[in-house]
Assembly symmetry: C2
Homo-oligomer: 201 residues x 2
């Protein structure tokens, strides 16, 4: 049944939030979910399998309503907002106490988004672009981890602003055609959201 799967998933999430991923045992999970041991192994191969099955439900990683030629990195702000809504789950999955493989999976999903956005914005596919993608994703995930681990109390808006302030100048410089290459007048300060005009959509 689907109910059993859900019970197991929820039990794992709850336990991770309480004890951390490593400390949670399968026995804990089946006890909390009130499920037979054999039932667990009938649905999942092991603890990690349950973890991965949860990632699909992280809607903030499967973005994002298109947002074609609009603002670059439009995903950032909605993502932080989404994360807040799904705080429990994200805390369990993306915190430092989760398995490293989950991080890798999340980073890969996000990297695909970032990469396609950069390409759509005129970035030429190259090794250096891939390195840029890694930096951008690293910065974003760094903020995300710090946030869900309680190392900062910033709001989603502030996190979004910090993210953009840190990476946008470098990204702009790496892209060819974007207006305002190095105008200098205001090189993208912390709150720089000039114009932001939706242009024509």
């Amino acid at each position: 049944m689907r109910r059993t799967r859900r019970l197991i998933q929820e039990a794992l999430v709850a336990l991770i939030l309480e004890k951390g991923y490593d400390a949670v045992t399968v026995t804990d999970v089946i006890d909390r979910a009130d499920v037979g041991r054999s039932t667990f192994y009938a649905h999942f191969t092991d603890k990690q399998d349950v973890l991965f099955s949860n990632i699909e439900q992280l809607t903030f990683l499967h973005p994002a309503p298109a947002e074609g030629a609009g603002e670059l990195f439009a995903f950032s702000r909605p993502m932080f907002e989404h994360v807040r809504e799904q705080e429990r789950l994200v805390r369990a999955l993306m915190g430092r106490h989760s398995g490293g493989l989950v991080h890798a999976r999340g980073e890969r999903l996000l990297a695909a988004v970032v990469r396609s956005e950069l390409v759509a914005a005129g970035g030429r596919e190259s090794a250096s672009l891939d390195l840029l993608v890694i930096c951008v994703v690293g910065a974003f995930m760094g903020l995300l981890r710090a946030w869900v681990d309680g190392e900062t109390t910033a709001t989603p808006a502030e996190l979004d602003a910090a993210f953009r302030a840190a990476v946008m100048p470098g990204v702009r410089a790496a892209l060819p055609g974007t207006f305002s290459p190095v105008e200098g007048a205001n090189s993208g300060g912390l709150r720089a959201r000039p114009g932001s005009g939706p242009g024509r959509s």
Copy 2:
């Protein structure tokens, strides 16, 4: 004896490179190191303890004075070089298959370095500066992980260049008085410090 400690540490590193951190058991280690089980627990509390004891030897994380008025983020290039020298150890410690806590530890060490550099360069201590530090460290560690995990074949020089290209513009924009060689025309334009920084209400 110190020799015994070293044997255990080296055995763990070797085994991590072969099987990944999670798959290595204490029994494996003491077998490889050819030491008694009780001897292991006389020197370390558990597997993770051995891992942490190795971090201290990651010289690339304990940089690297020579700063002062020099170039910003002068640590980057030497770090990548150093990493190459200690490739085995870094691969074992910082790869995605290592424990997440080791990452956290490494990031904290690096964050301290980055933060002090930014402050020395004129950055005002604030919440937004901390967020910037997180982004910078995230970008650097992202590159590092991707590199040691074989996701990119770039050279240290290329990684250094990519790192600087990605984060330096954003960092420059966030610093007030940095001598701005070329784009310095504005110089003062960056007072973007909305209110009194992200202060969480």
